[in-house]
Symmetry: C2
Subunit: 542 residues, 2 copies
Amino acid sequence: MLGLMQQQSLLISSLIDFAERHHGDGEIISRRVEGDIHRSNWATAARRSRQVANALDGMQLAQGSRVATLAWNGYRHLELYFGVSGSGRVLHTINPRLHPEQIAWIANHAEDQVLCFDMTFLPLVQAVHAQCKTIRQYVALCDADKLPADTGIPGLVSYEAWMGQQPDTYDWPTLDENTACTLCYTSGTTGNPKGALYSHRSTVLHAYAAALPDVMCISARDSILPVVPMFHVNAWGIPYSAAMVGAKLVFPGPALDGKSVYELIETEGVTFAAGVPTVWQMLLGHMKPAGLKFSKLTRTVIGGSACPPAMITAFREDYGVEVLHAWGMTELSPLGTLCNLKNKHERLSDAEKMKIRMKQGRCIFGIDMKIVDEQGQELPHDGKSAGDLLVKGPWVIASYFKQEGGDPLVNGWFPTGDVATIDADGFMQITDRSKDVIKSGGEWISSIDVENIAMAHPAVAMAACIGMRHPKWDERPIVCVVTKPGAQVSRDELIAFYEGKTAKWQIPDDVVFVDAIPLGATGKMLKTRLREQLTGYTLPGL
Amino acid sequence: MLGLMQQQSLLISSLIDFAERHHGDGEIISRRVEGDIHRSNWATAARRSRQVANALDGMQLAQGSRVATLAWNGYRHLELYFGVSGSGRVLHTINPRLHPEQIAWIANHAEDQVLCFDMTFLPLVQAVHAQCKTIRQYVALCDADKLPADTGIPGLVSYEAWMGQQPDTYDWPTLDENTACTLCYTSGTTGNPKGALYSHRSTVLHAYAAALPDVMCISARDSILPVVPMFHVNAWGIPYSAAMVGAKLVFPGPALDGKSVYELIETEGVTFAAGVPTVWQMLLGHMKPAGLKFSKLTRTVIGGSACPPAMITAFREDYGVEVLHAWGMTELSPLGTLCNLKNKHERLSDAEKMKIRMKQGRCIFGIDMKIVDEQGQELPHDGKSAGDLLVKGPWVIASYFKQEGGDPLVNGWFPTGDVATIDADGFMQITDRSKDVIKSGGEWISSIDVENIAMAHPAVAMAACIGMRHPKWDERPIVCVVTKPGAQVSRDELIAFYEGKTAKWQIPDDVVFVDAIPLGATGKMLKTRLREQLTGYTLPGL
């Protein structure tokens, strides 16, 4: 027997309709590529999203066609989020930090038909457009009078000329909620990128979950700065959750330096910010020497890669900002866990609380997770047993776009490629990437643990731990270190620094000082590349 | 083109699975009918829910069959919530405050096959069971040794004997998410009760929405006291939202007096409570004379009927508790709006904020609403135009159980029967029930406004405004008043009290002092009954 409730699809167009209708004057602030501050609101964003939809209709662009963006966080990008997906096309956000050849490969693989780009990326588009066979319309995200005369890109129009004259009424189609809405490629460190193809349903469910008090806690009282890029898994879904609750949005554009971000936080009364550790490092680097404080910022979610403990402490103790650790991936839309304490933890000491906060966090309802051993047997949630982390849920992919790479699931579970522990309270902690894990004498050593200890040394700016072949132990860890400008530490001093902080056999055998650690487009360390740089290296004593 | 995300039904069984898996030791505290305090947790609730499911399977109870409850808020009722719905049956929560004849009528209409009841209601069940033709199993929610020997109810078993020996493993069925899960009859003041038949999908979506920061803001850090009964629209969905985030639940059982509720709040560290105004009045009545304060309670949601402004002020100013106004109805699962301020309201004065807080609140994403005039034309959201309030959304009914009363929708919108205004910020304010609205000289007078002013007088305990026929003005308002024990106010004094507080023509023509105002089963004033009591009354001057 079925219930007798109204059937209403979970659609992205409902989000922008709702924001317009109930939060029309809710602000949307953007620092533009030009550097100036642009002020818009949800009613205007909704109106202009409908103009975008009409522009796409005018091109006879079929349902399901991909519209790509190479763009910073800003109001025009937001309009594309709703106009493209709302009208039944698929928004494909390309990461501009990828190598130009990868960008062309992705655009061809996605069969993008339109590419909208910020003027920052004009040289990039000039370099790749000849290779992008399927794109029939290039749109520069600028005013008509900002469009250079001769770019060499055929048929290039400005965004304002393209959509500005379109009617601002539009009947959003009543789509099947499983219709594709967004395409996002993973920045795999090996092999070709693979696309995650989100649906309206998965996106709206993720938006509900992301806004929950135990997750990003997003409300109409918030002013939100998504520093995490809109080309990086939809800025963790913040644009959708913000529309869902009518929050104020503050977009930083390309200016991610500490000074620019700090100014925006203060002038726009930002209460909540989200981003990867690198940006927060720059922000603190700007604030500390000047003795600056936040007036309204009370919480931040940090994810994308493991956050150095020292940063959590600094935010918390010096700036009164609650730092929440998040974990997710492109294949998870992206949120999987968030690290918020429970009712029962209230009585713990600060040190004990900190120990929990260092973990990646608890599952958000919708996501389930388990850890398994090499035989696929589920391991206990005891906070000690480490195994491959598998997840499932309505905002986890079932397969990649065009079935690239075959069926990724293992009995319905998606293998994340991370190695993790889960404790009795459900808190998950990533100990390693599956391929980075070091096996020494039959035991696993977490490269992340080894790196975190090195990072806690005042002279160390960055650390990467990798396993080196060893005839007796199978593998032994070494740590590659970049020192801070002007700071010095010797190999032996750093090895000694590990004493008492970890088991003896987990202390790296050697320290290799390097000028830089190679990073991928989303800031992840490329250990394969680092390994190549170390060709010819031998462990001490061998 | 469809997205490539995992297909996972939104099911009530997923909620209890999640709570067990990630919040197993999250507490569930109940004051039992016997008066003692019972301590359980989510893992135990999950285990016992599965035993309930096995007990139902053992009865060969078909999918979709109705299992009724006549029960207070407590752990056994919670287990039935998940065991009955999770296994594919429909939980039918009966309001024990209804007249016994109505209860029998509803049980027959629902074709209930099992009735689980708290021992409080044994006399009630003894009185009605002979009329309940479809019930084949009566279960008393008590230990085996608490079951009286001869109740006259055939085949009566104790809950513990019924489910206690069942295996605690069970494979929840993978249901269509639109499957019915819960049946709840509206306490209509006229005509036969009508059933709202919720689905798993509508319930899970409502659970996400109800937990949002702008709604009830439910997290794993909360200890929640749902004073609102589990037989009253699923305690506003709190059991589901609490499972979704692993919150601690504190159930008051039948003891809703001020002293019992206060003790439970303090001993169990309650942070959030939800209920109807009457209960809070009793609570404040207990606390005030004794000079008691709350140690952890910081917010409460009040709904069910309009909340007297004086109570909001008292909670806020004297007890530091944020009072949030909610509005909903059985047909809405029940939440429609909640009154939380926006970012832009931060700069307002306390008085201005209070003016907004007095409204019923803003739409929760999922629900949309509009107000229309008598011709069905949409009225502007200007905070002044009052019209019939219509709603739609995935947790709004499409029709009543067994199509009772025909198609309730008007072009896809559900007419609430309320008359309301909506302001430019989306805040809705109920001005009246459609049938209670008073039309005087072509203008509408809000009976709620008239009542609220009377309620602000220190001598008034309760006030009900009704319209009386008038040859010239069509209708004129009068106010029926119950005075507080020992307090006195004259007709003329109360009329004078209205001066300056409302327009002259909106001041009631008369005050009628009554001993009591007739209330329905959920505490709503029965104005039809009141009107009958006033037969023979004539307006002054006529």
